[in-house]
Amino acid sequence: MIRMQNSKLRFVLAGLALSCVITNPARGQGQPQSEQSPMTDASGKGGVAIFEDFAKYPPESRPLNSWNWDLLHPWLTESSSMSLVPVQTLRQLESLQDTSLAEEEISQRVSMPSSLPRYQFDLNKTIVAGIQDELVAQLTVTPQDDSNTPLRIHVTKVELIGDDYFGSPGLGSVPFSCETAKPVCTFQWRAPSTVKKYWGSLELDVTLTVEGMADEFVARASFYSSPMVAGSFTGNFRERVNNGSLMIDADVSVQKRMACFVSANLYSVDKDIPVQFAQRRLIMDPSMKSISFMFFGKIFRDRGDEGAFRLQDLKAQCENLSYPPEWFMDSLAHQEELQTFHTNHQTTMEPARVYFEYNTYSYVTRRYASNDFSDQEWKSPEKTRKLEALKKIAAELDDPALELRKRQ
């Protein structure tokens, strides 16, 4: 009897709850009302759709477009123009660090010129890999006002500062030349040796004066230096089609066993446009003689890319680890070892990255027709497992009880 009443009550309440879900706009936000692509759903269902879309192609092989600025310039980060703030102003601010002055008082005490010249560094690269690689940094100073009279600058000091993990050592001056008619100076640097002090985040500090201004200014440019290298590409390549994808093998000479991210871009020769980006995540070992880049067949097919292709922008970035690279590659499987290691070892602070030697190698393939490549989506057991997990959690997130549990 009680059971039956309970059952009836449950039925009635379920009906009422359903009507709440239907009539309440709040639920409408949790469960999209109108017809739309599943990917526009921000909840678990959308997550499934986004993963399905992502996993059409393997993670190691991705479409590359003209708007992927960063991938198309793998050695460079642009910089923008900035004001040259007088050294004296910054010193004033620092001297106020121990005071308990309000910001308004500080702003009144610190003299900030109303019009400051601006500077911009144009660097050829912001990652310098190896002792043959060279940084070229062009400094341009411009007036803040609209004066047509060009500024005249005088560089009084140039200093390269080392990574703070090594105590920010002074690394000496940097050769430079300045144009006589323009406020433009060019600085060139390459690591003199593989000594550690040249490793990591380095900063080029240029102290200068501007004619007509009493103040002294510092212009700064930062870059990452990896004077020691984990290996190099040799410039030898081979190509083949495997399972409907284009494989290009690049020969390497590996010096040190490390967990690395090795990447390259593929361009269409005929159209001179980027086509695909390949990135491998693997342990590079001195026994390795080559690395294979896969350019996935379906990406060619979906975009209609055919003809000859050019491989370029080869880059290998390796992780500086104080433990075996296998633990990094599969940290889930090595949780205990990592935990024990972290507990028992005092690690020295060192920069995180070591690169393969910078190179400008490129390789042009033979011509391919679109149907030389496969139209099949990426399939793998890992993909299937991930998809099943995402679908399961999407279903779980749909449970109305979750909302109540959250609001309790």
């Binding site: 449950r10 009422l16 709850a17 709440c20 309440n24 706009p25 409408g28 936000q29 469960q31 990917m39 526009t40 759903d41 921000a42 997550g47 986004i50 992502f54 996993a55 993670p59 708007w67 960063d70 991938l71 980060t77 642009e78 910089s79 900035m82 004001s83 910054l90 620092e94 121990d98 500080i106 702003s107 900030m112 660097l123 912001t126 990652i127 609209d146 004066s147 990574d163 703070d164 990591g200 985040s201 700064r220 930062s222 990452y224 992780e319 104080s322 940290s331 889930l332 990592l338 972290h342 995180a352 890992e382 991930k386 997130l397 749909d398 009880a401 979750l402 109540l404 959250k406 609001r407």
Partner: protein, 365 residues
């Protein structure tokens, strides 16, 4: 990066988390539905949610010599100012040495090392777990570095959503100029972390596109009110003139007679970083590469804004699915046409915690 917020529209910080998630027809209807729902849930256990939901909060640049490192149920370093998102799961505070270590440091207690350990321990589907991530500033850089270098697409880790407050994943021009030491109440101190927050370092550390389908929704602060505005504004962040400039950003004038320019930042990080743009340049808004959006003006894959996804019939703010912001706190700060928030570098944290709390459980359980 931690910074004391001054005089922003977000000064009305709420210690308690608002429960307003979405619009109800009437308060009465709401109460009735909750009661009915509760009873239904009590009488029907078939729908039990057995999964362990873990909400990880990863802090940014922080100087606290008493901080313990790892993942904890309490915010020992007070990096989140006592805030705790409402959740059906567990809140974990991921604490790394965000002062002496770089965000991408794989040795303990560097950013990548601590984040990796936390995620391996708390986000493994094989253990019935799934994670939602709330990160702030350099904490977002540490998380993204971990994810980009992980084999996420091949392993059993489940990360459902990432809310990135004031992300420093693209670096800061203040770090480029050695000025982060002036942030945080003029401490005059600089940590080793500052080097890793330089724009070239942060952007060169990892492939920012390789989020492997995990979406990063950014809360990008664009305001003209923050500490040391007189020094920072118009000096270090990229700016632009032209039309459709963000009115909430700082106005700069190029010379005495030059055009009006706008620079958009939160006092520490510019929109190019907080919104996941793929180059250091002036941006007035956030864009998105999260479906259905497909920005081709320069946004990293799987990055977008929090949150307004289903664009329908010109009405961005109402009557659309997944149409945040959900909390009154964030709604008051939301600059809809530009997808930015009127917050400084500290207040973004409050936006993500409030938003997680107020969002539907199907999105933020």
């Amino acid at each position: 990066m931690t910074m004391k917020g001054l005089g922003t529209a977000a000064a009305q910080t709420e210690n308690h988390l608002p429960k307003r998630g979405y619009r109800m027809t009437t308060r009465t209807a709401n109460v009735a539905c909750v009661i009915v729902g509760c009873l239904t849930m009590l009488l029907s256990s078939a729908q039990a949610f057995g999964r362990q939901i873990n909400v990880l909060l990863i802090h940014g640049r922080l100087h606290n010599t008493k901080e313990h490192y790892g993942h904890f149920r309490t915010d020992q370093a007070n990096a989140w100012n006592g805030m705790r998102p409402a959740t059906a799961g567990n809140v974990w505070y991921v604490q790394w040495d965000a002062w002496n270590r770089h965000f991408d440091d794989n040795s303990w207690p560097g950013g990548a090392a601590v984040v990796r350990a936390a995620i391996d321990a708390l986000c493994d589907n094989n253990k019935g777990q799934a994670c939602w991530i709330l990160c702030h500033s350099a904490g977002c850089a540490a998380f993204e570095d971990y994810l980009s270098k992980s084999n996420y697409a091949h392993n059993s880790i489940l990360i459902e959503h990432v809310m990135a407050a004031d992300s420093a994943a693209g670096g800061s021009e203040l770090a480029d100029n050695g000025l982060l030491r002036l942030i945080g109440g003029l401490t005059g101190l600089g940590g080793n972390i500052d080097n890793s927050l330089k724009t070239s370092y942060a952007r060169g550390a990892y492939n920012h596109n390789n989020m492997q389908s995990v979406v990063i929704r950014g809360v990008g602060g664009a305001t003209d009110s923050y500490p040391l505005h007189f020094l920072i504004a118009c000096s270090f962040f990229p700016r632009q003139s032209g039309s459709r400039l963000n009115p909430k950003c700082t106005t700069c004038v190029a010379g005495r007679f030059g055009p009006v320019e706008k620079e958009c930042d939160d006092g520490t990080v510019a929109l190019h970083s907080t919104c996941g743009h793929n180059r250091v340049a002036s941006f007035q808004d956030c864009n998105s590469r999260i479906p259905p959006h497909n920005d081709t003006a320069g946004t990293y894959n799987f990055h977008g804004w929090w949150i307004n996804d289903h664009v329908c019939n010109g009405d961005f703010r109402r009557n659309c699915n997944w149409n945040g912001p959900y909390s009154s706190f964030a709604d008051a700060l939301w600059n809809s046409p530009f997808k930015t928030y009127h917050v400084d570098h500290s207040n973004g944290k409050e936006v993500v915690v409030n938003e997680y709390s107020a969002a539907p459980a199907a999105l933020c359980p």
